[in-house]
Symmetry: C2
Subunit: 438 residues, 2 copies
Amino acid sequence: MTAMSTVDGKTVRVALLGCGTVGAEVARLLTEQADELAARAGAPVELAGIAVRRPDKHPELPQHLLTNDAAALVESDVDVVVELIGGVDPVREWLLTALRKGKSVVTANKALLAEYSAELFEAADSSGADLYFEAAVAGAIPLLRPLRESLAGDRITKVMGIVNGTTNFILSAMDSTGAGYAETLDEASRLGYAEADPTADVDGYDAASKAAILASLAFHTRVTASDVHREGISNVSASDIAAAKALGRTVKLLSICERVEGEDGAESVSARVHPVMLPRTHPLANVGGAFNAVFVEADAAGSLMFYGQGAGGAPTASAVLGDLVAVARNRVLGGRGPRESAHAQLPVRPMGQTPTRYHVSLDVADKPGVLAQVAQVFAAHEVSIAAVRQRDRHDTASLVIVTHLAPDAALEATVEAIGKMDVVNEVVSVMRVEGEDS
Amino acid sequence: MTAMSTVDGKTVRVALLGCGTVGAEVARLLTEQADELAARAGAPVELAGIAVRRPDKHPELPQHLLTNDAAALVESDVDVVVELIGGVDPVREWLLTALRKGKSVVTANKALLAEYSAELFEAADSSGADLYFEAAVAGAIPLLRPLRESLAGDRITKVMGIVNGTTNFILSAMDSTGAGYAETLDEASRLGYAEADPTADVDGYDAASKAAILASLAFHTRVTASDVHREGISNVSASDIAAAKALGRTVKLLSICERVEGEDGAESVSARVHPVMLPRTHPLANVGGAFNAVFVEADAAGSLMFYGQGAGGAPTASAVLGDLVAVARNRVLGGRGPRESAHAQLPVRPMGQTPTRYHVSLDVADKPGVLAQVAQVFAAHEVSIAAVRQRDRHDTASLVIVTHLAPDAALEATVEAIGKMDVVNEVVSVMRVEGEDS
């Protein structure tokens, strides 16, 4: 029974780049749980240095480990680089250097991975180093390892989820209070759920980076953030939320990665981030506050869901440490983690050609023939209507239409044409629909 | 960009033992998706032989691959053995032989793993072979890999879930129809959701094997099926279900693996399978039919949930193929998967000393002082009451009590003593409670 506690490997020396909320938690756990981690990795895992911008600002950290020279730390005698700084430059060069020199990298840097993962994987491959990044998407939720490994024998058709806590917090709050977007964003900032500059979250950049990473892994295709169609939540109005509520639906910002088959049978990948109306009975509809949840559909596995905390120091540190143990274990046992899997290289489908469904809520004149006229515009754009609900008010009527799947460009053109009709007083709400039978 | 489609490894030859629902699906996917699997594994993955009891009964399979001599197939020139026969003997010997000879094993055999995983891991370790078994628990849901790898840097405190589809189908049906157990089991058999001999499912043996596997992985401790306290669902009555419903709760058969701290601060492991009352707002309460779902709580990661199909040919085959790709990739890249992790070796806590909470529903005499007398019995056993609800009927009253956490033996003794009281006409329902603040 010799395998029970084999800690006979050579010490794995770790460089930590960045020591904010997540980094501090990683440093703490590496020290406090040293024996446990060693038992799991098969060798001691030792913090060899911490690079921070201003070492004098970190009296709480072991002073002899601190440096402000990240490049030198990467070049020093370390085996693994854990990067928690974020952003593209100058981190990209440091990680490329580390990987080319055979040092494995564990990173939570979604922005970097969403643009440069091909280059990073190539550098890793040149030396046989590992590149792990579980913490880059959905924090503590084990999601990337299942996609990269557990489902490696299956054919994934869709990955759809809530991967940004800030926008989910805001939309959940708008849903429960009925308040508008600007007001709710202010409240979220006050409570610490939104950054001082919330652009990356509310405009969907963060979710788009994550969608790129998810689509790449799910479809064995290089998808970058710029390939992802991106719409944020700043245009989601109290009327949109109210319209959703009236129909037993709720609004969520989703990252959606889908395998789409064209008329010619050729496959392509759609990757997009936009607000979506979901039925309240949909499991993603009940994911509240800052939680994350991701649905995965695969041919053999069917539907899977992963749920948990998507951000925060400790949850993200959990994902980083899981990767760190894997990387250390690979060193001890002489193996390697999964490499880039981009053999399929499917084309990325433009948003206009991606099949979606729209919910359109109109305020129209209350007179005979209006529904026929509106329906005619849908038909002219070859958009098929799935459901209609008309409700009379005083001298106007509320008309709600949900379509079947149609190319997004056709749906957009339909809405534009309808907005110009004399009988249409106002387009109250337009939103894409997911999670219902089409 | 050389890593995109490297299929330069030596062909990985696979022996398939057993070709029922899951095996047939594995064989089909291995053939149909050969190119995809090769790209992901880095080498062609080839089905080298299929052992079935009666080759003549399988005209649908490639005849030249069939044999009824599993032992000889294992000894032949194969690199990986995929075992889908189930049961302990004679499979155990075949897999030990394979592992000792350096052939990696992928198995869905929960009964074998729940008793003999230490021996199997030791055999794997002696030759450096891999042992993977994602399909043994919760079918297609990537659960074991997250426990073994993603959470390797975290401290798991609880794993609790629905891991048996048959019992979940029966309890869901009893909840929605109000019918009794026997009647619902008949219906489940008729619909194919229960086996002709349903013992392994309804008496909790299947769930107990899975609890043993989960507890072993979560707590780095050897836990066997015989260590798991096991109660099935055959005693769950229509009254239990009705009592649960009246309180906004539902009944589920859960596998619960918990890290328990004793009064002396020493840690131990509780592993148990029994029916549980859950609030209807609990995420596990809404897992219906044959689906599986598992909650994991860890110090840093917080609460995680995994949801998906727990059985069936295609979903289980998805898990098997994911493991097969991992094993093949380890061969191609010269690495190894995780070994046994049993370094903690915590003691297993007897059920009587495990802290649980009871829901007790009584029919009592409707006269003064009854509640005081009943409460006195709880107090005498040092069981603290969390909530009481009394409702008068004609000359009797319904008394519902939910306790705080107490040692299970104290709770059991309390219920026994209460059942003997003159003022208690009937103990209508006794059930453990999870998922509520204690």
